[in-house]
């Protein structure tokens, strides 16, 4: 057993070129062979996007976990453990896990209203019309493109750190590898391979975490070094950890779940009676793996590790290099490649579904989609998206600004999206203006376009208080009645106001995120209350149907179903 020593001067252990190539080729080769098991000469467009709408519990839960664990999950969770100590990993992994939990009641509602949907934007179009659909589709497209780029970047970084191969070589191998097994069968291949990738990831995590713990000195090391933690780091209820990590992430959880097509796709693919068990299991699985790997950050803090170049993303590779034997490092390599690949293939499937349904099916095809043409659009989308992902990853762009923007867009659409499927007065105008106003005020606060002082600061803090009420209300509404949710939301907003005013302006990330929720909800409710529109939710199932029936385009049937649907039906065509 190696002893715990400070590692400032430690170099990364490197796998040989042949070992790294063998691992990568073996991983992507096996995944490709696996995808051949389900390949069909003639793919069905609906199957390409959401399988058979009846995937079983094991595959769907595994796919949900594998998709939501991406390379950044490990690094961010470990960073949280390193920065905030005992509670750090919980403030990353727990809230990420709860995201899956809180979305499932809303997901069941979406599925109940539109059982044959392919994308959430498609359902939004059937509910509101094209402008709302485009807001949703564009936010999904940008989000998935960024996710793809981040995952390819992580592949390049991993390969360049742990092997003699270059960053670009790593990006190219990951891009080609993921595309090779996803291109032909789309979402079906993604779900199928997710299972195998998740097995590899969990087995690796189950071996790596205890191995590093005991090699670093085990319980004796823990007890000897606990005194090195600051008061905040040794406090399970650290206010610093809550305000800087937990609360902003907590606010973002619903936004991520609503704004990401990968979740919606799995929601529409799983057998309807298995939605609850699937999402509950995914909550536990995601939390366990991500919090567990976050513990490596806590261990790094305890052993006195100093991240090389001050880069927090080096924490896990440094811990692996120092405390794992070569076999363990190979496992770690597979763990990261598995996590980034399972998310990247889901992003490709999500992007293709959005382009197939929301760009081609609902707009370019003018209501008469040709299934073969639609499939062509899906596959071309995957190829183009992979090329863009590889190019942008190779450029090593700073994606922080894009992530911030997409996060805001997602935060701004959460309330309008959810409430659109419960309240029949919400109109297209209410949806669109709510999002526009929320994004504008978010940007003002996030980038401090005006100084957050005096009356302006108070204004944003009041908006943020309302936003807090909205978040609490929505989360309550997931499991309780509307009246309880409204009462909880109002109470949370009122109780928080004395604490937020004069205080929250120092936490701009949290302030701006909550502002997006508060403004979108306020504008949406205000415009909806003045609306005379009363939407019949039964129309959604009529308007959102399969594209492919016995090799015949279903446009004729779909056209008949929407006859008489008024303005919204016209918007759909």
């Amino acid at each position: 057993m190696r002893t715990a020593t400070p590692m400032q001067e430690a170099d990364f252990f490197k796998l040989s070129t042949s070992t790294a190539l063998m691992l990568l080729v073996g991983f992507y080769g096996l995944t490709f062979l696996l995808s051949l098991l389900i390949g069909k000469k003639k793919e069905n467009v609906d199957g390409y996007m959401v399988s058979n709408n009846a995937i079983g519990f094991g595959l769907s839960a595994a796919s949900m976990i594998a998709t939501w664990i991406w390379a950044a999950s490990f690094y961010a969770s470990a960073t949280s453990g390193y920065r905030y100590g005992l509670s750090g990993p919980l403030h990353y992994g727990l809230w990420g896990a709860l995201m899956i939990l809180f979305i499932y009641p809303f997901g069941r509602r979406f599925r109940q209203l539109a059982p044959k949907a392919h994308t959430l934007a498609e359902v939004i179009q059937a509910r509101h019309g094209t402008s709302s659909q485009l807001i949703m589709a564009v936010s999904n497209l940008i989000g998935s493109c960024i996710s793809l780029m981040v995952n390819f970047t992580a592949a390049g970084a991993l390969v360049s750190i742990l092997s003699p191969l270059s960053f670009i070589q790593g990006v190219l191998i990951a891009g080609l590898g993921v595309l090779s097994y996803t291109l032909w069968s789309g979402f079906r291949a993604s779900v199928m391979t997710d299972f195998a990738q998740l097995i590899a990831m969990i087995l690796a995590a189950v071996v790596i975490i205890p191995l590093i713990f005991f090699n670093a000195g085990g319980t004796d090391m823990l007890m000897a070094n606990l005194g090195n933690l600051s008061d905040q780091q040794s406090d399970f209820f650290s206010t610093k950890a809550i305000l800087e990590q937990g609360a902003p992430y907590f606010v973002a959880v619903l936004a991520y779940a609503i704004g990401n097509q990968t979740i919606a796709q799995r929601l529409f693919a799983v057998r309807e009676d298995l939605i609850k068990s699937t999402f509950l299991t995914a909550t536990i699985g995601y939390g366990a793996v991500v919090i567990g790997l976050g513990m490596l950050g806590l261990l790094a803090l305890l052993v006195g590790l100093d991240p090389i170049d001050g880069n927090m993303n080096n924490i896990i590779p440094q811990m692996a290099s120092t405390y794992l034997p070569p076999f363990g490092i190979a496992l770690f390599f597979i763990l990261v490649v598995g996590s980034l690949s399972s998310t990247a293939d889901s992003d490709l499937s999500a992007l293709s579904a959005i382009v197939m349904t929301d760009v081609y099916g609902k707009n370019l095809a003018r209501g008469k989609p040709d299934p073969k043409r639609m499939l062509w659009w899906g596959r071309v989308t995957m190829v183009v998206a992979t090329m863009l992902g590889v190019i942008f990853a190779s450029l090593r762009l700073d994606i922080l600004v894009m992530l911030v923007f997409v996060g805001a867009l997602w935060g701004a659409i959460v309330f309008p999206v959810i409430v659109s499927f419960y309240w029949n007065r919400v109109s297209n105008k209410a949806f669109t203006w709510a999002v526009v106003a929320a994004v504008a005020l978010f940007a003002t606060a996030r980038f401090e376009l005006v100084p957050l002082v005096g009356a302006v600061g108070v204004f944003f803090e009041l908006c943020a208080s309302v936003g807090l009420g909205v978040v609490v209300g929505l989360m309550t509404f997931a499991f309780f009645s509307r009246n309880i949710a409204i009462a909880m939301g109002v109470a949370a907003a009122l109780v928080s106001m004395p604490y937020t005013v004069g205080f929250l302006r120092d936490y701009v990330v949290l302030l701006s995120s909550l502002t997006a929720y508060g403004v979108s909800a306020s504008v949406c409710v205000a415009i909806s209350l003045r609306s005379n529109e009363r939407f019949d939710f039964d129309l959604l199932a009529e308007r959102v149907t399969s594209f492919h029936q016995d090799d015949e385009p279903v446009a004729k049937n779909r056209g008949r179903a929407s006859t008489g649907g008024g303005r919204l039906a016209a918007a759909r065509a």
């Binding site: 094991g58 969990i202 513990m295």
Partner: protein, 43 residues
């Protein structure tokens, strides 16, 4: 802080991960059997 508690806090997560993995594998095997019996495709 108690050493046993701290050790359990760190090692609890891989144990929970393994339990989830086991549950998923069992569910997959059941689904495969059911699909084979009914002649349906799983995906």
């Amino acid at each position: 802080m108690n050493g046993f508690f701290m050790t359990a806090y760190i090692l609890l997560w891989p144990v929970a991960s393994a339990a989830v993995l086991l549950a998923l594998i069992v569910a997959l095997v059941r689904d495969m059997r059911a699909a084979r019996k009914d002649g349906n495709s799983m995906i």
